[in-house]
């Protein structure tokens, strides 16, 4: 079970309190009624489904109820960063691979 940091509550909480909400940073077009079929397909249907570092949305649905953004490695399931909705796409924080012995690093 994942441990997720809610940027609004400022606390690490169990995955049970959250719901995944798809890829992040897909803005609804300003004048959606005017966009082409291709652009609509791109906006609504097509997703990257990244293996590796992914920017995604989560909602603290059984907590504060807020949607927020997260950078998660979909291979290791590590959350690299969570940040408030509305902020621009954040860069991946520098990550040190955990070495044998494992005394440092790992999940915070």
């Amino acid at each position: 079970m994942l441990l997720i940091h809610c940027p609004y509550c400022g606390d690490d909480r169990s995955e049970l309190e959250f719901r995944w909400a798809g890829e992040a940073h897909i803005a609804r077009p300003e004048v959606i009624s005017e966009i082409s079929d291709e652009d609509f397909a791109e906006y609504f249907f097509l997703r990257d489904n990244t293996k590796g570092i992914a920017w995604e949305r989560w909602r603290h649905i059984h907590g504060c109820g807020r949607f927020f953004n997260a950078i998660r490695d979909t291979v290791s399931d590590k959350f690299l960063l969570t940040y408030e909705a509305g902020l621009p796409r954040q860069p991946v924080p520098g990550t040190e691979p955990v070495s044998a012995g494992g005394a440092e690093g790992g999940a915070a």
């Binding site: 994942l2 949607f67 494992g102 999940a107």
Partner: protein, 985 residues
């Protein structure tokens, strides 16, 4: 000799006994015995039959890795558990223990014929039965295989025990309380960290329980361990859980533990749970899981009496039991010598130590020889004899054909030690192969975790203690000296397991997989360990190959001519050892399995004799049968009465969302297809919600109470996802709008009163509101009081009759319901349930989202094109609705169907075709979405999705059924009161 308990040996108290039965015979044990040690003390080695060949088997181990001695342990008929490992289960007074997988008796088992037929049962035979002859599978192979194979029998009675569940957080969780785990835990605890120390045994110490020659801090290892335990137990920041297994290591240091609370007690207090599930989130995990001794792979290595050397040592040094009276030893590793020496010193005859190594350590060999033990180096055991117990071992010098038969009644073996990396592997850590010592060790960690001691390949005691102390983070200093190192040994088939012979040299005891089977798998083309595993089922039994994996891998690698890392290691998965379902579900069974949602009126509905149906988690009143009525009769009466007089209905399950704020209308404009800014306060409107793709997502009546306040209703099942959908847009797409959303589904009890006398029923109860048609017409909403209770009154109808929906705070619901029903009864009204609600709405062509629509239906397809605003420049779905496919001709549209035979009620889901005589597969036009008997119309009615439906009015379509084809005419969806006058009456 029937008592193998040795006076003065072991740590159990001779005066404290327990009696139990095994296959009906009474035995005496000592408190603290496992079932295995108690049976061994009574000279019983035969404890089970193997899975496939039904070969007699004895206990192989003294721990959780046990593959053979799986027994049925019971207190009584209901409290019975199959497949319990005799080496783990503690004996309690009154235990009823039975052997499994044998008939008629353990000693004489008809199933052992399989052993003679074994050429037929070679690896992969099961898959081959699928292939040929095909017809034989269901009638012949499957029944035979099902009867012959398998382990215990599941209990049929309800489990009367209860189970508990706890959550915990800690700084450090230490798995394993051996020398390394105790040291790491103490070191961490002394820094003030919150520590949880877990061990699966009743007693801490790990290997120190059997290894009596190790000294730590100048004390015998076991005594040192008890001292550390006392120190830890006294610390407020430490929790020690014994009889507890860390069975699963999940993401982000989340661990599953099972604590066996009462299974060892003769008369457990019924207030105690049988087992407790711990769900622990640890900041750091320290794995001190030790190592598991491997067996030797040689011919007939599975007879009762053959066991791991360390197991025999534990039975002697902890339980005080000798596993035989003339014992042979077959080893590739030093540690077996310790077992032989301990037994010899306890007065047990050691027939010989057979060491397949040409030159084991000189000191070790001399130590054994000085005690008078014959040591044969460079020798192997090439066969054994004995039907229900080993009677002799046949040994030969490696490379020689000269045999020597040595009588024994037990044979100890040691192939060396396999580090227990199961939990590390479960955590998604990456292993690396230590080629020098032929073992896999933790390498790259995925979590904040550290492995210490034998599970990390740290075998030398001094280094182990230092490593554990350092991992704990404290400045603890512990010193120790051990007699033997854990490194070394062999993996794979031993000399004499025969490359191409027919001998049975078992690799996986529980699944009867032999060295020959693994070779066969490779010959038949399996080149990956993943395939070999599945073809042979090696390592797939409930012991998860704790003993067999490394041997199987080595044999496969040898056959393939590859290095072991190239062949690969299968991934270890949770649980480490089997976990009872009861423990995992804890209290979530019976009524709590899936809790029911009940409306505030539920008790009144029960009193009124309602039958209920499940709608999601809701219990909804389905219909209200009177004496002698079946469902059909009750629904017909309710339908008639509602239209002739009035009906009263519990609509409390309707989803309700309060949308408040200066931008509330603007927000609803964006979320619904309709226009809301034109809706006046005090009025309601039916709204349709689409997703961006233009398909209908939900619907419901929305009432505007004030400029900045809307009372939104959703479908019963749709409430949570509609709120989620609204919140999503509000928070992320339209965050500038000043709107607040609140779920009020459970705050309001909703009583629908529908029918010509609806107004008459409620009018006397309503205060401060003129209910006349002029003052309060259809689609009005007002705040008022009902019986003095603040209420929201809606003039809405889902029946086509004059209708009111009385919303009162949930706590007042029952009182208001009773008063309304009292008046209704006096005027001849009825209560009605969801079935009648469905019929009445279908008579009027009102759709149910999710029944008449399915996620591919647009508002226009559903006949609600009028609800989509043409003036708005934006709403969710505006662009999706303009997609070419959503605008094309010939889309499936909702229409009415009237069967040619008016008594024929169509089946919902029935497929519709234009020409029933065309060749199959026919061109399907759509399907029936709703179909009912309409008592009010005296005929059947149906709603259907039909391609180009609205252009087919009057056409005949056909619904082919299994036994007949039904003809129906396409009509519009309004069957009753087409002019719609009644609703305004």
């Amino acid at each position: 000799m029937s008592n193998y308990r040795i006076k003065g040996a072991g740590r159990l108290t001779p005066a404290r006994t327990a009696r139990f039965t095994f296959d009906g015979k009474i035995y005496t044990a000592l408190e603290g015995d496992t079932v295995a040690s108690a049976l061994l003390a009574n000279g019983v080695h035969l404890m089970g039959r193997s899975f496939k060949y039904h070969r007699p088997r004895g206990v192989l181990s003294a721990g959780p890795e046990e593959p053979n001695a799986l027994l049925d342990v019971a207190r009584d008929a209901a409290r019975r558990q199959p497949n319990v490992r005799a080496s783990v289960q503690e004996v309690f007074d009154g235990a009823i223990i039975r052997s499994q997988n044998r008939w008629p008796t353990l000693g004489f088992d008809i199933g052992s014929l399989n052993n003679l037929l074994s050429p037929f049962f070679a690896a992969g035979f099961y898959y081959k039965t699928f292939m040929w002859p095909r017809e034989a599978w269901a009638k012949l192979y499957e029944p035979i295989i099902r009867r012959a194979a398998g382990l215990g029998v599941a209990p049929t009675e309800t489990d009367p025990d209860h189970y508990a569940n706890r959550f915990a957080h800690c700084d450090v969780l230490v798995a394993g309380a051996g020398a390394a785990g105790l040291t790491a835990a103490l070191s961490a605890a002394k820094t003030g960290a919150e520590v949880i120390l877990v061990d699966e045994r009743a007693d801490v110490g790990g290997a120190l329980l059997f290894d009596t020659s190790t000294m730590i801090d100048g004390k015998p290892g076991y005594d040192w361990a008890q001292g550390v335990l006392a120190e830890l137990t006294a610390m407020a920041n430490v929790r020690v859980l014994t009889r507890t297994t860390v069975f699963g290591y999940y993401n982000h240091n989340f661990l599953g533990l099972v604590e066996r609370v009462t299974d060892h007690l003769p008369n457990p207090n019924r207030s105690l749970p049988r087992e407790r599930l711990w769900q622990v989130r640890a900041k750091k995990v320290m794995l001190a899981t030790g190592a598991i001794e491997r067996h030797m792979v040689f011919a007939n290595n599975d007879r009762p009496g053959i066991m791991l050397a360390s197991a025999a040592r534990l039975y002697l040094n902890h339980y005080g039991v000798a596993v035989g009276s003339r014992i042979g030893v077959y080893t590739a590793h030093d540690s077996a010598y310790e077992a032989a020496i301990d037994l010899k010193k306890a007065g047990v005859e050691i027939a010989a130590i057979v060491d397949c190594r040409a030159k084991p350590g000189e000191a070790l060999v001399s130590a054994a020889r000085n005690l008078g033990i014959e040591v044969l180096t460079g020798y192997s055991v090439i066969d054994t004899a004995g039907r229900l117990r080993i009677s002799s071992m046949t040994v030969a010098r490696n490379g020689s054909t000269n045999h020597r038969k040595i009588p024994v009644d037990a044979l100890l073996m040691s192939g060396g030690w396999t580090p227990s990396v199961h939990l590390f592997s479960q955590s998604r850590g990456k292993l690396k192969f230590d080629a020098e010592n032929q073992r896999f060790l933790p390498n790259i960690y995925a979590e904040n975790c550290v492995s210490v001691g034998a599970c990390n390949g740290t075998d030398e005691l001094g280094a182990l203690l230092a490593e554990a102390a350092e991992a704990g983070g404290g400045s603890l200093s512990v010193s120790g000296e051990a007699a033997f190192g854990w490194t070394g040994g062999m993996i794979g088939a031993a000399e004499g397991a025969g490359k191409e012979t027919t001998v049975k040299a078992f690799v996986d005891f529980q699944h009867d997989v032999t060295a020959k089977d693994i070779r066969l798998a490779v010959r038949e083309g399996m080149h990956s360990i993943e395939h070999i595993k599945r073809f042979t089922t090696n390592g797939m039994a409930s012991d998860q190959g704790k003993l067999s994996n490394m041997h199987g891998l080595a044999i496969a690698a040898e056959m393939l001519g590859k290095e072991i890392p190239q062949v690969g290691l299968t991934t270890f998965r949770a649980p480490y050892t089997p976990v009872t379902y009861g423990t995992l579900i804890a209290h979530s069974r019976g009524d709590l399995f899936d809790p029911a949602r009940k409306t505030p009126l539920h008790a009144e509905l029960v009193k009124a004799g309602a039958e209920f149906e499940d709608v999601g988690n809701w219990k909804r009143a389905w219909y209200f049968p009177r004496r002698g009525e079946d469902m059909h009769a009750a629904v017909n009466r309710e339908c008639r009465t509602a239209r002739e007089v009035a009906g009263i209905f519990d609509a409390s399950t309707l989803g309700k969302i309060e949308v408040v704020g200066p931008d509330a209308a603007k927000f609803l404009n964006l979320l619904y297809t309709n226009a809301w800014d034109t809706l006046k306060p005090g009025k309601c409107r039916y709204g349709i919600m689409t997703r961006e793709d233009g398909f209908v997502y939900d619907d419901g009546v929305v009432g505007r109470l004030a400029e900045d306040r809307f009372h939104v209703t959703t479908t019963t099942g749709g409430a949570p996802r509609v709120l989620h959908h609204m919140e999503d847009y509000l928070q992320t797409e339209f965050p500038d709008l000043k709107v607040w959303l609140t779920s009020t589904t459970e705050q309001w009890a909703v009583i629908a009163v529908q029918g010509p006398k609806a107004r008459e029923i409620i009018a006397p109860l309503v205060e401060g509101l003129d209910l006349s048609n002029e003052a309060f017409p259809h689609m009005s909403v007002a705040e008022c009081t009902v019986m003095g209770v603040p209420a929201r009154l809606f003039r809405v109808s889902f029946t086509g009759e004059v209708g009111f929906e009385v919303n009162v705070p949930a706590d007042y619901g029952a009182a208001v319901w009773k008063a309304i029903w009292e008046r209704g009864q006096a005027l001849g009204a009825c209560l009605y349930g969801t079935e009648t609600m469905h019929v009445l709405r279908a008579e009027k062509g009102y759709i149910i989202v999710g029944q008449d629509t399915d996620g591919t239906v647009t508002p226009d397809d559903a006949g609600y094109g009028w609800a989509v605003s043409k003036k708005k420049t934006d709403f969710v779905g505006i662009r999706g609705l303009k997609r070419p496919d959503l605008m094309r001709e010939g889309r499936k549209q909702l229409v009415g169907l009237l069967t040619a035979d008016p008594t024929e009620v169509l089946e919902e889901g029935g497929q519709i075709v234009a020409n029933p005589n065309q060749a199959k597969p026919m061109t399907m036009l759509g399907h029936v979405t709703s179909a009912y008997w309409s008592e009010n119309l005296g005929r059947s009615i149906a709603i259907a999705l039909v391609a180009g439906g609205r252009a087919r009015m009057g056409e005949t379509v056909y619904i082919p059924m299994k036994d007949k084809t039904i003809a129906a005419t396409v009509t519009d969806m309004v069957f009753f009161d087409k002019e719609g006058g009644r609703i305004h009456g």
